[in-house]
Symmetry: C2
């Protein structure tokens, strides 16, 4: 494998330095470029000022084989990228008539007039190829100079991202600078820690020492594991075989390849069982229901949810017995199970999840961060206690992750049980 | 006012360049530094590699009066910031015994042993002041060299942020490099656009032409407006007067100074009215309830919520008449009102919000993004139609924002009405 090119990115925009919004472009481009085997070497965020653009550009250009810029291609006087970079390269700007025609058309179909400053966007750096922008008026630019490559992209995300996917990536692949196929195989695991993964999979990875690099990334109850060949001796099909070995070793801990969503997996599984799910939430306050309803078509297997913050509501809507609440309290294993059963009955669902706990900042008989999950299913009920100390929003999030993890594992187990049953027949 | 110092930040971490997580440190530090009158000039994200750290550090150090780094202060072999920067500055590392004592104590109370590599974290660059880290084992470092200032902070957010607030900012203020008081006055507005704000407030701002700079930032249904004096002639008390003028001009559109949360405002208001709120959600699927339950102490005025995805559930739990659903459909003004009334009755709440609509990707009789809000209150019921085309998650989010905006405005009006009534008595 060739030594990767030195690639840098300069993001223009005062708002990035003011902490007003996070640099989503970096996440998008970092992910896309890494995936296609062209890792980023260094990035900068700079202000929309001519002197800043000039100095940042010149030093990055000297170091780089490939340099990408985002922002500053618009029609207004503080859009300075095009002019400043052309000047720094000692090149003139050339008017592009195709761009003018597209621009006039863009405005015509919107019933607006083209103003003179819009026409600034028709200029390309001498020698640059135009990157089409169907979502805005500023074209991108692709310029090859002295064996180096400069790519200028517009700032708005809904213009930059499609332009990268449709105009930039295919050109990079065609020039042999990026891989068409992902550079790594990603396995998503659930409910297991990084160190468990390392220990458990060590015997497999040891057989490929020196041939395979493994990167872990933990987020939201998942750990993503990326397997990447360190040289070309390891073929993609072999990588898939290793992935399958890891998957079978991990069992329930393996969620899928790529970026599968666990809520989607659960709803799909329930649909295949011709079953419905309901949820009852106290401390997570609707967040668990919201995760399920984020899945398109959720209504086919998600019956609904109840957010019962108060004891009277738990009694009235979920049929949680008043004496149970008195004896054990609302934050208890008994209450969690009663909530799950109650919501399943109310919403005529076969499966139900319930969450009750202290999200904080205040606790009760137990410290904030104490959570009880309740689970109702055709084969029985369970409760499970968790302790997730932290900020209120983080506690809610972790409780939701744990609830998803819990039902996922239960449903995986049933699947195996069903299989056993069917084999017996 | 002095010319601001040239401040740069270098963020270390391979994961930033891989698109695995967004650079939240930049948002936090950008916001904090801007607020305290010390804007960032330029930032970089670099890899955890010695040669990268060295070259990025040396060029940034040459340009900067103040340079901040985050990351690479930990105990492992890929934590290279401390050693590399000391070397680049031609300084030795000095063992700090206070840090050793704290480190041993940190491990002792957790029942863990100190390993030799942990002791690497006790070394400071010669001449550096130690910045205490109560949340981890790596201290920060504050080094003044030749009239320049170098600040090294640890990478984990829960260590870096408190260290910035408690150790760094007070020192910057003490040295006259940052303002103790915010550099601007922030007004949060709700439910009004940027251009409306500009037009509406122009007469006020025109009177301060050349003295006042105004920045707008739109997010999540709010527009934040920052008023900043461009020179010292404009005193803080005058700025507050201007803020009050804007607030009274905007009426209901003014939510508060700083960063008030509208859900918190609504629950506080309801509590003062000795009233409770319930919600019924279809397409937002729990997200509205979750916004309210994000507020600590929500249970005092939030009765609960029902997520009713299916018509049968709307009938069974919310008493929405079956014939109404047949006649108008579930996505209708009539259904929204019936849902609001139904949930108010069920949960014995005085106020209720309901949301029904097509979140997408599929629609029904109306296109995806069509939303009906329903509102129930002691003085009547309302319904309100919205069209928010977009991705499913964005449609949900906007519908929630609109629902919050809607009840906020209603409650503001009642407050005025109550006042009128009480004046009449």
């Amino acid at each position: 494998m060739e030594i990767p090119k030195h690639l840098e990115i300069i993001f223009l925009g005062d708002e990035l330095l003011l902490g007003i919004r996070s640099n989503g472009h970096l996440v998008f481009l970092g992910d896309q470029l890494t995936r296609h085997g062209l890792p980023i070497r260094r990035t900068q965020e700079i202000r929309d000022e001519e002197s800043e653009i000039r100095t940042a550009f010149l030093s990055a250009w000297e170091r780089s084989d490939i340099l990408i810029t985002t922002g500053g291609l618009g029609p207004t006087t503080d859009d300075l990228t095009r002019e400043t970079i052309a000047d720094a390269l000692g090149r003139s700007l050339v008017f592009n008539e195709e761009q003018e025609a597209e621009l006039r058309n863009f405005f015509a179909i919107r019933g607006r007039d083209v103003t003179p400053n819009n026409l600034r966007q028709c200029y390309l750096v001498d020698g640059a190829e135009r990157l089409i922008n169907p979502n805005g008026t500023a074209p991108g630019q692709w310029l090859e100079v002295d064996g180096k490559l400069l790519i200028m992209l517009p700032g708005p995300a809904h213009e930059m991202k499609p332009m990268f996917d449709e105009e930039v990536l295919p050109r990079l692949v065609k020039k042999g600078l990026a891989l068409e196929r992902p550079a790594y195989l990603q396995l998503r695991t659930i409910g297991v820690g990084e160190s468990y993964l390392q220990t458990r999979l060590e015997p497999i990875f040891d057989r490929y020492a020196g041939q395979l690099s493994i990167a872990y990334c933990a987020h939201n109850g998942f750990v993503d594991m990326r397997l990447r060949p360190v040289n070309e001796r390891l073929e993609w099909s072999r990588l898939e075989e290793i992935g399958n070995e890891c998957a079978s070793e991990l069992g329930d801990g393996f969620l899928g390849y790529g970026e599968p969503d666990v809520a989607e997996w659960i709803l799909r599984k329930l649909r295949s069982l011709n079953s419905k799910l309901a949820v009852a939430e106290s401390c997570t306050g609707g967040l668990l229901a919201s995760r399920f309803t984020d899945v398109p078509g959720a209504s086919k297997s998600f019956a609904g949810g109840l957010v019962c913050y108060q004891n009277e509501v738990k009694e009235a809507l979920l049929n949680v017995p008043g004496c149970l609440l008195e004896q054990h309290g609302a934050v208890s294993a008994e209450c969690a199970v009663a909530m799950a059963t109650g919501v399943a009955e109310r919403l005529e669902a076969d499966y139900a999840l319930a969450v009750t706990g202290f999200a904080g900042p205040e606790g009760g008989e137990e410290p904030p961060g104490t959570i009880y999950l309740g689970y109702h299913s055709p084969v029985g009920v369970w409760s499970y206690k968790l302790i997730h100390p932290g900020q209120r929003a983080a506690v809610k999030q972790r409780a939701v992750n744990s609830a998803l993890d819990f039902i996922y594992r239960k449903l995986k187990k049933y699947a195996a049980y069903d299989l056993l049953e069917s084999m017996r027949c």
